[in-house]
């Protein structure tokens, strides 16, 4: 059985980040848990990830209009950042405010949106929603740039209520129309055309002459509401607190039913969602406060392996283990394709509802992609992962006894808690002879990341 504090710390870093190296885990596990959480909640205590190293290795990575390169850069950042929760919150908001590249095919806007999530992700929801409503990628994605005084387009207004704050069942069709009208005139400046110089960032503009300034009734309030007024009202709603709490629970604690079910299906752990919602309301929607409550809670600490890893968590975790991304490499350019095959193309979710999570990540096709990816990353007996594992396990003897090899690799990859069936299968593989020690270790690592247990975070 793995050391308890180490296992808890590993859990914290899988959830509030993208895993940790063994050395980092050992260093953090001797500190008080609450102190480690405070560091996670305060990314500003640590330096920003050094992006310039990417430019040095891969000048083409600076090209702003290649989504694959930017997705690779994001994964690189997830694996290497000293501010893991900042990156995890960016991914969380990308889930909730799902915006896809495929509609506008304008990568600078997508990149800017993710950066905005990093900046505001642990701040208050009100500011985040205002930023979101001014975000060119979002304005284009939900057609608010087509939302005019004389011909309102309610798409953004509807999803703001249904998917970004309150959830279905907490407002009516009139509220949707009013919210839509309040955001008329919120649009962006068309970027300079793609050709011949590539793409440039888009910029929010407010066109007062295209804004419907008439009297509106929204959720029982009355006034000549503009977009900020609508957000002010939304952000203080209990429905919003509960909706965000449920999202946080599903993303950070344990798998929940999917969003469309929330209007009719109660949370699995109602007390936990209540507590998160209360923290949200008491703090005026401060996400840092809500996350502090969450990460220090018993239901969080006890939820080890209660979630299916998302493809991004899976890939980043494998790469953290393999060491392959500790420096930029050609692998970066292939990651978006690999993630897409596993069902999570970064910055390109299938729809505004975002990705379905939990067991819906897994089907025959995506499971196969996960297993094949992980094996490819860890199979090299001369690779960094096998070398590091061999070094860490060397004290167990040479050749390593089968049990030491199996338990050592399970420990390094988690620590994972393997079922008897899994452990028995691994022990059989570990007994194989006629191969070098490096090969034995590499093969064991590939089998460990192929286990059903490794699919859980």
């Amino acid at each position: 059985m793995a050391d308890t504090q180490l296992a808890l710390t590993a859990h914290l870093f899988r959830r509030a980040g993208f895993g940790a190296t063994r050395a980092d885990l050992e260093a953090q596990a001797v500190r008080p848990y609450e102190d480690v959480v405070e560091d996670l909640l305060h990314p500003e205590r640590f330096p920003e990830p050094a992006d310039d190293v990417l430019f040095r290795y891969y000048p083409q990575m600076t090209t702003p209009d290649t989504p694959g390169a930017w997705a690779g850069r994001w994964v690189y950042r997830m694996v290497n950042t000293e501010r893991p929760l900042e990156e995890k919150m960016a991914l969380f908001w990308h889930h909730v405010f799902a915006t896809a590249w495929y509609k506008g095919e304008h990568q600078p806007s997508m990149t800017d949106q993710i950066q905005m999530f990093r900046t505001h992700g642990l701040g208050d929801l009100r500011s985040l929603l205002v930023e979101l409503s001014r975000d060119p990628a979002m304005l284009n994605w939900l057609d608010n740039c087509e939302n005019h005084k004389d011909s309102p387009n309610e798409n953004f207004g509807r999803e703001l209520l249904e998917l970004f704050s309150m959830g279905l069942g907490n407002y009516d069709e009139t509220d949707v129309k009013m919210a839509g009208r309040a955001f008329t005139g919120w649009t962006f400046e068309q970027p300079i055309p793609l050709y011949p110089h590539g793409q440039y960032p888009a910029r929010f503009v407010y066109r007062a002459e295209d804004h419907d300034d008439s009297e509106k009734t929204f959720l029982g309030h009355q006034g000549r509401f503009n977009g900020e007024d609508i957000i002010e009202i939304i952000a203080g709603q209990e429905a919003t607190a509960r909706f965000i709490a449920r999202h946080l629970y599903n993303f950070f604690v344990a798998d929940e039913p999917q969003v469309p079910a929330w209007s009719v299906q109660a949370p699995e752990d109602a007390a936990a969602v209540d507590e998160l919602a209360r923290t949200f309301l008491d703090s005026g929607g401060e996400m840092r406060e809500v996350m502090r409550t969450l990460l220090n809670s018993d239901y969080f600490k006890g939820a080890r392996f209660a979630r299916v890893k998302s493809p991004v968590e899976f890939v980043a975790g494998v790469l953290k283990l393999s060491g392959a991304l500790s420096r930029p490499g050609p692998l970066l350019g292939s990651l978006q394709g690999a993630l897409g095959a596993m069902g999570q193309k970064l910055m390109d979710p299938p729809s505004v509802e975002g990705w379905h999570t939990g067991k819906e990540w897994i089907d025959g096709g995506t499971l196969l992609e996960r297993v094949n990816f992980a094996i490819d990353q860890l199979k090299d007996p001369d690779g960094a992962a096998a070398a590091e594992a061999a070094r860490l396990l060397a004290a167990g003897g040479s050749p390593l006894p089968a049990e030491a090899l199996v338990d050592g690799c399970l420990d390094l990859a988690g620590p994972l808690e393997a079922s008897e069936e899994t452990r028995a299968a691994l022990l059989e593989a570990a007994a194989a002879n006629g191969v070098s020690e490096g090969e034995r270790v590499a093969r064991m690592l590939t089998l460990v990341v192929s286990t059903p247990e490794y699919q859980f975070a």
Partner: protein, 383 residues
């Protein structure tokens, strides 16, 4: 020689159009002035439509569907929908997937059909879904639907280079994915998925080599998907249900260009698909069902159309009795639902029922949760 094996069991090919295909701009009420008044930005001029009769015409981008229609291979179900249509894509698609308009269900109608066809879940290729991720329609506990992203590289642990090692690893994989009783529902699901992947991969590895098609397929997602359906079907893998998706129909803005392109790709792919099967003598047991989660608003919004209700479905195949089915929703403003939408004239569960009972030969009631009016789009009952 037929490559269709000995199977003559009916096969259902489902094409899901994601985003909400605009029914009014697919089957166009071109004789109605109100159509042109309500849609100044997206209406198709009378001199460009492809008339079927004095009232209705196909959109010009649907020319290849019209060819099939004229050959008698297409049944258009007009005005399909359900009461209190949801304008949410997700809720709307959920309702179509689960046949539960009032509560949120997790079991899909296709999965329930698969449970009828393969009750002991012994044949992982009974249903195959192409594309990343399994749609909810195909999901239910204990039901296997094989999900294929890329047919040509489908296989497990393709990274192990030596055959002996590969075989050993597959064996270990099978054992690890056989979880103990009581391991939990997600672990059970994961285990079963893993074992099904192994079984399906063994079978599918043979498919690409067996394909003899000569049709020149388009290079777009729906053409690729239907080509994969044709390859698996003609390889005789015993697949009874194929599920494919074609996305991008949510044109709140810039509708004309997007709708034209998507509709053209879709109709071309369907036509190529039928031709490919005919060339290989494998068409007569196949019916295609095309659906979308909702139609769109009657009035355009200046550039596109917003979410509406009252859509259309299309049943296509050699055994189809071509024609128009159910009623086109009234376009008279007095009849508009909530003063802005087409009122549906037939419940989508009746169309599922049509396919389930008249084509697949299974009882529809337990799958769609009730008895709903059906249409009669087939020349003869399925055997």
């Amino acid at each position: 020689m037929t490559t269709n094996g000995s199977s003559t069991d009916p096969v259902l090919v489902i094409i899901q159009l994601t985003g909400g295909l605009d029914f009014m701009n697919t089957l166009i009420p071109y004789a109605e002035g109100v159509y042109y008044d309500a849609r100044p930005h997206v209406a198709i001029p009378q001199d460009q439509v492809l008339p079927l009769n004095e009232q209705l015409a196909f959109h010009p981008a649907a020319s290849r569907l019209k060819e099939l229609f004229e050959a008698g291979d297409v049944a258009v179900v007009q005005g399909i929908g359900y009461p209190n249509s949801s304008r949410s894509h997700f809720r709307g698609m959920d309702i179509w997937h689960t046949c539960e308009p009032d509560t949120v269900a997790t079991e899909g109608w296709v999965a329930k059909l698969v449970a009828e066809l393969d009750p002991k879940s012994e044949r992982p290729l009974t249903a195959v879904s192409f594309g990343r991720g399994l749609p909810r329609a195909c999901a239910a506990p204990g039901v296997t639907v094989t999900s294929i992203g890329d047919l040509d590289s489908y296989g497990l642990m393709t990274g192990s280079e030596r055959q002996q090692e590969h075989d050993q690893h597959l064996d270990l994989f099978r054992r690890m994915y056989t979880p103990a009783v009581g391991a939990g529902t997600v672990m059970d699901y994961l285990g079963r998925t893993g074992r099904d992947v192994l079984a399906g991969a063994d079978l599918l590895a043979e498919v690409p080599g067996r394909y003899n098609g000569t049709v020149e397929w388009g290079t777009n997602p729906i053409a690729s998907a239907l080509r994969d359906v044709a390859r698996v079907h003609t390889a005789g893998m015993g697949t009874r249900v194929f599920y494919t998706q074609h996305a991008g129909y949510d044109y709140h803005s810039h509708q004309p260009g997007n709708h034209d392109r998507l509709l053209g790709e879709l109709c071309g792919a369907i036509s190529d698909f039928l031709q490919d099967l005919r060339n290989q003598n494998a068409a007569d047991n196949v019916a295609v069902l095309v659906f979308t989660e909702f139609g769109r608003r009657i009035r355009d919004n200046g550039s596109g159309t917003d979410h509406g209700s009252g859509g259309g479905a299309y049943i296509i195949g050699e055994r189809v009795q071509g024609g128009l089915y159910a009623e086109y929703p009234s376009v008279k403003p007095a009849d508009w639902l909530n003063e802005e939408d087409l009122k549906h004239t037939i419940d989508f569960r009746g169309i599922y029922g049509t396919m389930l009972e008249q084509w697949m030969g299974v009882d529809a009631q337990p799958i769609v949760g009730g008895t709903f009016e059906q249409v009669r789009p087939f020349k003869e009952p399925a055997t």
